[in-house]
């Protein structure tokens, strides 16, 4: 196997976010999250439920971008997705145009809400997802424009906002992981502020800190993000993403 690309390291880091999830619905939004979740499903998280992106749960793992239907094992139209969200038996990985140190996410708009400088996707499912079940984020373009001191609009609820609601309302809130093209983060700190968990090979703690617009919690020693195994590389290259879409999203 040739050396893993940065995108392949990211795919494994994303897969790791789903480790131990068991028999719940995993909803990865975007190509790299799709790839990572498929990798988790084919290796250490075989029980997670995934849809074909339309309305069906599929029992097998199709290559990314495949036009062939998968092996249907269940029906999951949007109404059932919403019920699953509110039941809590789901882990979503979303994107974020902005994210702050407590994991507040913005996908709504930039600037004044009444007349925004830039309209983004809208709230979509972010408020309901984050208050009801486990959420992770994938950020392919780590920069100070994304990792900001304060987000313009809170779509996905962060730890400080959740804490302010009290323990009852926040008891289902969990932001498991943030994976960027540079590093992996979690919130395993006393005040649930963002912590640098590992840096991808080829980058450094200094680079990550310099590209982040708020003070990160940086442990005394920061490990390197784990490299894909040969088996994982084979799955990524031959089975999950033979067209190499991953390397177009994240350049090495």
């Amino acid at each position: 196997m040739s050396e893993p690309t940065r995108a392949e390291v990211c795919a494994v880091a994303i897969a790791e976010a789903f480790r131990g999830d068991g028999e719940i619905l995993v909803s990865p939004i975007g190509n790299l999250p799709q790839i990572g979740a498929k990798l988790a499903r084919l290796s250490f998280a075989p029980d997670i439920l995934m849809t074909d992106g339309v309305a069906f749960l599929v029992a097998d793992v199709q290559p990314l971008g495949a036009q062939t239907p998968g092996l249907v094992e269940g029906y999951m139209p949007y109404r059932a997705v919403f019920d699953t969200v509110w039941s809590g038996r789901r882990h979503v990985m979303m994107g974020a145009t902005q994210i702050d140190r407590f994991g507040n996410q913005n996908i709504s708009c930039i600037g004044d809400f009444a007349k925004p400088k830039a309209q983004l996707l809208g709230m979509r499912g972010a408020p309901g997802n984050t208050i009801n079940h486990t959420t992770s984020y994938w950020i392919p373009n780590h920069s100070k424009q994304v990792f900001v001191p304060r987000v313009d609009v809170v779509s996905g609820v962060g730890y400080d906002r959740a804490a302010a609601l009290g323990t009852t309302a926040s008891r289902f809130h969990e932001i498991r992981r943030v994976v960027s093209n540079l590093a992996v983060f979690d919130f395993e700190t006393p005040d649930h502020s963002m912590r640098l968990r590992s840096v991808h090979p080829g980058t450094s703690v200094d680079e990550v800190v310099a590209q982040t617009g708020f003070p990160l919690v940086v442990p005394a020693t920061v490990p390197a993000t784990r490299a894909p195994s040969d088996e994982e590389l084979a799955l990524l290259r031959e089975r999950i993403d033979p067209k190499g879409l991953r390397d177009r999203e994240v350049r090495s």
Binding site: V54, A55, F56, P77, Y78, R79, F82, V85, W86, S108, C109, F113, A114, K115, P116, K117, A118, Q119, L120, L121, G122, M123, R124, G125, A126, P127, G128, T130, I131, N132, V153, V154, S155, G156, V157, R161, A162, A164, L165, G166, T168, A169, S170, F172, H173
Partner: protein, 288 residues
């Protein structure tokens, strides 16, 4: 009762300032033939309630919209509707931006004649800041939990597009997802279905299982046959999304000059029949 009608008769029910609910989801199974009829009408100042797609974009571009109630406005393969983006950034529409689940809950509350339904969705987010009229409610039981009270979202007129229907208004979806079309009809005072084909009642269960019959005639005031009427959104299994057309639409929407010529070619037509002829001719051209 024979409830067959025309798109013109449906649109004649709309008054300025009314709340219009539109079925489908993003760029999927949208009642576009009726939307195009609205574009030809003088109606304006609409509040549009929908999981939005090009329906919202077209109505905004034509200056027919005062307010949009939505969880998103997307073309699916193009994440953000370009006309909607412009309308928002120009501040020309009022945005009631809800969490997708809150939106469903509002329609459902209206359908059940309840003033609100409680949920956790929205708590802690800025949904409550940008919509300061939203209120919370405390559980009257021992838990005492405080929840967001999503107000009912009643609509004056609802329009949805289905694959099949009979003349009395029993309607059928043959694609993978009904979305929330039944809930939307439940939330509406006047309820209209456009469909690919009106068939004898007995044919409905021949093409799909009873599970596809989620909209019965008691939920419908009028039905109109509009073949290819969801174009350019998808209406599977009858047809997929016309991605080439959608790309042309979205590209034109980014440039006022380009939009003018798109409008001239596709929207300044006198009837849906003319539109469909032009679309068919375009498809023929592409094949050559």
């Amino acid at each position: 009762m024979d409830k067959r009608t025309t798109t013109a008769e449906i649109v004649a029910e709309l008054r300025d300032g009314m709340t219009l609910g539109i079925g489908g989801w993003g760029s999927r199974r949208k009642p576009m033939a009726i939307v195009r009829e609205i574009l030809r009408s003088p109606v304006r100042d609409l509040t549009v309630v929908t999981y939005g797609g090009p329906d919202v974009g077209l109505l905004c571009a034509a200056g027919k919209v005062r307010r949009v109630v939505y969880g998103f406005v997307s073309l699916d393969s193009i994440p953000l509707e370009p006309h909607f983006r412009r309308a928002r950034q120009e501040g020309s529409i009022e945005a009631v931006e809800l969490d997708e689940g809150m939106y469903q809950w509002g329609l459902y509350a209206a359908a059940l004649r309840l003033p609100f339904l409680p949920t956790r969705a929205g708590l802690g987010s800025d949904v409550m800041k940008v919509l300061p009229w939203l209120r919370t409610v405390r559980s009257p039981y021992e838990d005492g939990e405080e929840l967001l009270a999503v107000p009912a979202l009643p609509v004056d007129v609802a329009i949805v597009h289905m694959n099949r229907a009979d003349a009395r208004g029993n309607a059928q979806f043959l694609g993978p997802d009904l979305y929330f079309d039944d809930v939307l009809l439940g939330a509406a005072s006047r309820r209209f279905v456009s469909c690919e084909r009106i068939v004898p009642t007995g044919e409905l269960t021949r093409e799909g299982s009873f599970l596809t019959l989620r909209i019965h005639r008691g939920m419908v005031d009028g039905v109109v046959e509009t073949p290819h009427g969801a174009h350019f959104t998808e209406c599977p299994p009858d047809y997929g999304r016309d991605e080439a057309f959608q790309t042309e639409y979205a590209t034109a929407a980014r440039e006022p000059e380009a939009w003018k010529s798109f409008e001239q070619r596709w929207l300044a037509l006198d009837s849906e029949a003319e539109y469909q002829r032009a679309v068919a001719a375009r498809a023929q051209e592409a094949k050559r």
